[in-house]
């Protein structure tokens, strides 16, 4: 675990030296928000009409911005040739996975929080004191997304030419019903103020996070094998 933490800290450190990935993820989530705003511009949505659209808009933004982060998490290492270095370290291969999960989780959560702020700004949305339950769902949903996404990212990085397209193609069908649906549902329920109602979805997310971690723990050695 401490080895994983070391890798995560290394990743976050190198990221904050250039900030290029976090910055482009932030700009991207900003663009998605603006795009949504103008897509609904014609209807000049009132706050009641906006209500059912809040959680879909938020999660679509989170997922697409997050996919950007997943894209570079392994490809940077691969292109610099430092992945071999990591693999040569005297530690379990799954430590690399857990390290990547931690750093991706940190960076994507950061982007999620900024996306929430952009959303509030652009749509002049008021959470009415439901922000805390929404944040709980965002933390859990993003975690589920990152544990499955990091594994897929490790697979897709091997496809030299099409890796950019391959991550969404491999990841979306897998998370469609297991992460996206429960997260959106739970966020909608949390926005209505009854987080208790969202417990079945939260439980599903929790269970899937554990299952994906177990699958990754079992299979990640094969992903990195050379």
């Amino acid at each position: 675990m401490s080895q994983g933490l070391a890798i995560a800290i290394k990743d976050i450190k190198t990221e904050f030296r250039t900030k290029e990935m976090v910055f482009s993820m932030l700009v991207f989530s900003l663009f998605v928000m603006v795009a949504f705003y103008f897509a609904f511009y014609f209807y000049s949505l009132s706050s009641e009409a906006l209500e059912p659209l809040v959680s879909p808009i938020l999660w679509v933004t989170f997922f697409f911005a997050g996919m950007f982060g997943l894209l570079t998490s392994f490809s940077k290492e691969k292109d610099r040739g430092s992945l071999e270095g990591l693999m040569l370290c005297p530690m379990d291969r799954s430590a690399i996975y857990f390290g990547k999960v931690l750093s991706n989780y940190f960076l994507i959560l950061l982007v999620d929080i900024f996306a929430l702020i952009f959303f509030v700004l652009f749509f002049s949305y008021d959470f009415n004191g439901n922000l805390l339950p929404v944040l709980v769902v965002v933390f859990l949903g993003t975690f589920c997304f990152v544990v499955s996404g990091t594994l897929i990212s490790g697979i897709a990085v091997n496809a030299q030419d099409i890796r950019g397209v391959l991550i969404p193609i491999l990841l979306i069908p897998i998370i469609l019903l297991t992460v996206l649906m429960p997260s959106v549902n739970a966020t909608s329920k949390a926005l209505e103020g009854d987080i208790i109602d969202a417990i079945p979805e939260l439980r599903i997310l929790g269970v899937f996070a554990v299952i994906y971690i177990a699958i990754a723990y079992l299979l990640f050695d094969f992903v990195l094998e050379e």
Partner: protein, 232 residues
């Protein structure tokens, strides 16, 4: 070698026989469902004898991909990978058939082509997407890693199906539930029609799988020969 050839002939004969038989049972032998029983399109229901076996073969094929992927990761023999690849391709074809025939019936019976609230439909669709992605992954990765990564994704993809099922159990299913109500509502003729269809499609799957594996093996043999003479 001789045994292989004979086995193939037997499978071919059985396939042709059962496919012809299933055309007969589906179109002539099985009774039409009645409108009194709540069916709005009795004629269209005949597609059921084609739709269910196609869906069955696709699930069977994806199950085979899963098992072969596990075996490949265990001892990295190329034959497991070849079988997994062949099975995935055939599975996608049959899954496409099931996904196409479903809406044809749905339009007649429900009045709409597609119902997202239907669990079986949605999950079959997601499964189809997963294995399309599987084939794309195989196309995108260079050869030495291909088999291993595809095996990992094949396992994740197949494991995802029960997970999707759990997460969607909250929705109401509109799909005709064949298995659960078979004692009550399905007549024995319908059961026989369905069984013949499933057997016919399973033999067809076996035949196609063997052919696809043979083609794949030939292709890798050609690759080896090319390498030997120093070609590309």
């Amino acid at each position: 070698m001789k045994f292989d050839k004979r086995l193939e002939t037997v499978i071919l004969i059985l396939t042709v026989f059962f496919v012809l038989l299933s055309i007969y049972t589906a179109l002539i032998y099985t009774p039409e469902v009645r409108e009194e029983d709540g069916w709005s399109a009795p004629k269209a229901q005949k597609i059921f004898y084609f739709h269910v076996p196609a869906a069955w073969v696709s699930f069977l094929a994806f199950g085979v991909v899963f098992i072969m992927s596990v075996l490949y990761l265990k001892n990295s023999l190329r034959k497991w990978d070849t079988i997994a690849f062949a099975s995935a391709e055939i599975g996608v074809v049959f899954c496409t058939l099931a996904i196409v025939t479903g809406p044809i019936w749905g339009k007649a019976e429900w009045g709409v082509y597609w119902r997202w609230e239907d669990t079986k439909l949605t999950i079959t669709f997601v499964l189809w997407l997963i294995f399309l992605a599987y084939l794309l992954l195989r196309g995108g990765v260079e050869s030495e890693n291909k088999a291993r990564l595809a095996a990992v994704f094949g396992i994740i993809g197949f494991a995802c199906v029960p997970l999707s099922f759990i997460s969607s159990r909250i929705w109401q299913s509109m799909h005709p539930n064949v298995v659960a109500t078979s004692e009550g509502s399905m007549s024995s003729e319908t059961g026989i029609g369905l069984l013949v269809g499933v057997v016919a499609f399973s033999f067809l799957y076996m035949f196609m799988l063997r052919k696809r594996i043979a083609i794949q093996e030939m292709a890798s043999k050609i690759e080896d020969l090319k390498e030997k003479i120093g070609g590309i």
